[in-house]
């Protein structure tokens, strides 16, 4: 692979499918354009390419910006972690093979090691270095960061664990070798058809081990024909593929099912947006900022039922931000209620209600129940507002 292609891959890490191909094509055009300009200045091809890539700056800075726009939500997970921790139902899983997880070092926030400083902008890196050089500076910097940007959790799965867990669960796994790492050819028990699972786009090499992204796994499985996909449990859920069961995450590096559902829902809403009178509504996965407490909603549902809360908060502030979108959170019912980080005076039960209330710039929430019986057909089930109670 030449230098330009290597740069393109790095600069689009975190994107997938068409978005990734488009971004690579766009950046390839941009690089060639620079190279062409530099050759006009008399540089040789190799020298011009080097200069163009240097001029483009860190590919990780581009990747981080693009990923934020295309896949990653805005804020954070810590409050979600806090609310789900109380629901932690540890399951008896001794017989279920386990896949270990870890945080993605490229997205892990609030760590100010040399790699993070290298990825940051020159201004940020200089500011951080100054703070780190002061006594107690690191602790203060990390605390300030954690207060506003909680981590995304453990979003990477060890590929070798995944392969062996599937094998131990009875799936025949064929791997095409190092050159096509991240491709798994799976034959499920009782089936003769071989399914291709392409996890190569989110591959990360960390300390000699290959990792794939949780959302990438779930969303590719959702598109694999023939095999129902379910998650059982809230923390370190068991991924059930037909009759096959593997556990994702460990107590040392846990995975939240809500996080996986949110990634799947993000994917679904990108492909099939909610609409109002035929007009698609832009929705994004919104993350909680720690310490935010808002309205509670009474629901007629047993504990553990999943709900999706859609907020219009991005449209009701004093200043409308560019690219504003409705944001969704996934919530788990507990004691007949769900918590939200938003303070609202009303609830709506349809997208038209949401759009109308937004036009009056009044904060409101649209609530759906999330049907997770098969992730391939993940469904938002409308909840009549008569069965919801604001601040019960």
């Amino acid at each position: 692979m030449n230098e330009t292609e290597r740069y393109l891959r790095r600069a689009t890490r975190g994107l997938s499918g068409q978005a990734r191909r488009d971004a690579q094509q766009e950046l390839r055009g941009a690089i060639e354009d620079k190279v062409w300009r530099f050759t006009l200045l008399g540089m040789g091809q190799g020298e011009a390419t080097q200069a163009a890539l240097r001029d483009l700056g860190s590919p990780y800075a581009i990747a981080s910006g693009l990923t934020r726009v295309h896949t990653l939500p805005r804020a954070a997970l810590a409050a979600l972690l806090a609310t789900t921790a109380i629901l932690l139902g540890v399951q008896a899983l001794a017989q279920v093979p386990t896949v270990r997880a870890m945080p993605d070092p490229e997205y892990q926030s609030c760590v100010y090691d040399e790699a993070a400083l290298q990825r940051a902008s020159v201004e940020d890196a200089a500011r951080w270095r100054l703070q780190l050089s002061r006594p107690g500076g690191r602790a203060r910097l990390e605390a300030a960061c954690r207060a506003t940007t909680p981590s995304l959790g453990n979003t990477l799965l060890r590929l070798s664990d995944l392969t062996s867990a599937l094998t131990r669960a009875g799936v025949r796994v064929r791997t095409p070798g190092r050159r096509l790492e991240g491709f798994l050819y799976l034959t499920f028990p009782g089936s003769s058809a071989e399914q291709t699972l392409d996890l190569s786009e989110y591959m990360r090499e960390i300390a000699g081990e290959s990792y794939v992204q949780t959302w990438s796994l779930i969303n590719h499985l959702r598109r694999t024909p023939g095999v129902p996909v379910r998650l059982i449990g809230q923390v370190n859920p068991v991924l059930q593929l037909g009759e096959t069961k593997i556990q994702l995450g460990t107590s040392a590096a846990p995975i939240l099912a809500t996080n996986l559902y949110a990634g799947a829902l993000s994917d679904l809403l990108n492909l099939q947006p909610l609409t109002d009178a035929g007009t698609p509504l832009r929705t994004e996965w919104g993350f909680d900022v720690p310490g935010q407490a808002g309205s509670q909603i009474g629901v007629d549902a047993p504990d553990g039922t999943l709900f999706v809360v859609i907020s219009n908060v991005a449209f009701t502030g004093p200043k409308l931000k560019a690219g504003a979108a409705y944001t969704f959170r996934i919530r788990i019912a507990e004691g007949g209620r769900i918590t939200t980080p938003f303070t609202v005076k009303s609830l709506v039960d349809s997208t038209s209600g949401l759009v109308q209330t937004t036009a009056r710039r009044q904060p409101t929430l649209l609530v759906y129940r999330l049907d997770t019986s098969d992730l391939r057909t993940l469904k938002l089930v409308p909840v009549p507002s008569s069965s919801l109670r604001l601040n019960p």
Binding site: E26, A30, R282
Partner: protein, 109 residues
């Protein structure tokens, strides 16, 4: 360039640079730099995510085009009707803002 100052006005700058004619990334960087006499020096790491965000918002539309010199296509962005409206709104808001600031700090026009 002050990164904070650029942040608040980036969308307005990008929309305005596409107002008259469609452009691709490299041209936008060059244009913004020339028009502001080097005051704003956009970097690719800022530009492309911002362009993609504006495209997602429906304010601009990107299309791959091959340049007369050949080679790989570049992505050329055009302002959509919604983008024209947004530009107008952001321009008005900016004018009100800068007028208000001038009212306090004095000087200028």
């Amino acid at each position: 360039m002050d990164a904070q100052q650029l942040k608040g006005h980036l969308d307005l700058l990008l929309l305005a640079s596409l107002e008259a004619v469609p452009r691709y990334g490299g041209q936008i960087i060059a244009d913004v730099q020339t028009a502001t006499e080097g005051y704003f020096n956009l970097r690719e790491g800022t530009l492309y995510p911002a362009l993609h965000r504006l495209e997602k918002a429906g304010w601009i539309h990107g299309e791959f085009q091959v340049l007369p010199r050949g080679g790989s296509p570049v992505k050329v962005y055009t302002l959509t009707p919604a983008g024209h409206q947004e530009l107008k709104a952001q321009r008005n808001a900016f004018e009100r803002f800068s007028g208000a600031v001038r009212g306090i700090i004095g000087g200028g026009a």
